[in-house]
Point group: C2
Chain length 184, copies 2
DNA sequence: ATAACCATGTAAATGGTTACATGATTAG
DNA sequence: CTAATCATGTAACCATTTACATGGTTAT
């Protein structure tokens, strides 16, 4: 999924600014399966505007909360944008892409200093723990099934990682009991 | 992790050709947490050769299996290469990067045609099932702990996805029972 | 024969990340 | 007053993906 489609997806959930879109990928509903930075979002929004898939709208006057932020740009999907998004969803998705540098490092645990290994392990576990905890705080009320399903999938993934790491800490942390001779 | 470090990692496990390195990322021990194509591997190997981190070696004469493949190039790590790899492992790893187009699609299940949704779901599940099954065929004998740990982590991940999807098929596949009105 | 696989490589296109540049507002 | 957060955007750099180009071998 390119940044453009990602933006269309967030906008179909409601009007938003570039800043708000980023937030959705940081702590929102997409957090566990997609990722984008400002450097992708702003150019993507500019292109979408160019192509007529989104328009710039003033934030609803009711939300005068935005009084002090005159430079905030809120985008809204056009009908064409909605249609293009539907077409993007109709394609066959590619395989999941996972890049875990931490897992790569732990794979080579014998080449890491014990202190460093412990840090990598603990940081990794702590991160997944906090993600799992965060997801548990979300309210499922009124959320469509597809979204709940994907949320649950993320939750299942986080929980599995945490559970496995808690259960197998010793396996990687304790010095190797001779079984590594063969593969060196 | 850039393609260069990834290549160093596979080569520390033993001499290999570009083609063999790719295989490792397709069906080998890295399959579930990293991914690279030929377009990354061959240029990376060329650079590593340039920098003196690897050398080209003839495949061991014993393995005359390679008789008919004179253009096969086997690479081997130099001491510098080993050292550079260790340094790469000593750094703090970045966060896992996950991009799941399929999850993104399922998130927006209301916008997908039922047939397409079913296809996406079934393909996704089938893929994770086959990955999980494959990992169960691997022999743990003589494999160092770090590698076993990461293998188990991948296994736990695959199993969690399969289990969750099997258990919650109805949730996403059955037409929405009115709870989606709110977020539309 | 012919498909599948082994095997290597390049070039162009695509797209993402990082660093830079700026400035207002809010909470402590 | 100072740090954090809100807010947008560009340019250079970096890296990957895709398409192209080639050709040998093995199994059916």
């Amino acid at each position: 999924m390119d940044a453009k489609t990602l933006c269309l997806g967030t906008l179909i959930l409601g009007d938003a600014s570039g800043y708000e879109i980023k937030k959705m990928f940081e702590e929102g509903p997409f957090a566990h399966f997609q990722d984008v930075g400002y450097g992708s979002i702003y150019p993507a929004l500019a292109k979408l505007l160019d192509e007529g898939l989104v328009i710039e709208v003033r934030a609803a006057p009711e939300s005068v909360v935005d009084k002090g932020h005159p430079d905030k740009k809120v985008y809204s999907l056009t009908d064409t944008g909605r249609e293009v998004f539907r077409q993007a969803l109709a394609k066959t998705p590619g395989r999941d892409k996972i890049r875990s540098d931490a897992a790569f490092m732990m794979f080579f645990s014998e080449f890491l200093e014990p202190v460093h290994l412990r840090n990598v392990f603990d940081d990794y576990l702590a991160h997944y723990k906090s993600r799992a905890d965060f997801m548990r705080t979300l309210d499922p009320t009124g959320v469509p099934q597809g979204r709940l399903f994907v949320r649950g999938l993320g939750q299942a993934f986080y929980d599995a990682v945490v559970e496995y790491m808690d259960a197998n800490r010793d396996m990687i942390m304790k010095p190797d009991a001779g079984s590594n001779r063969a593969a060196e």
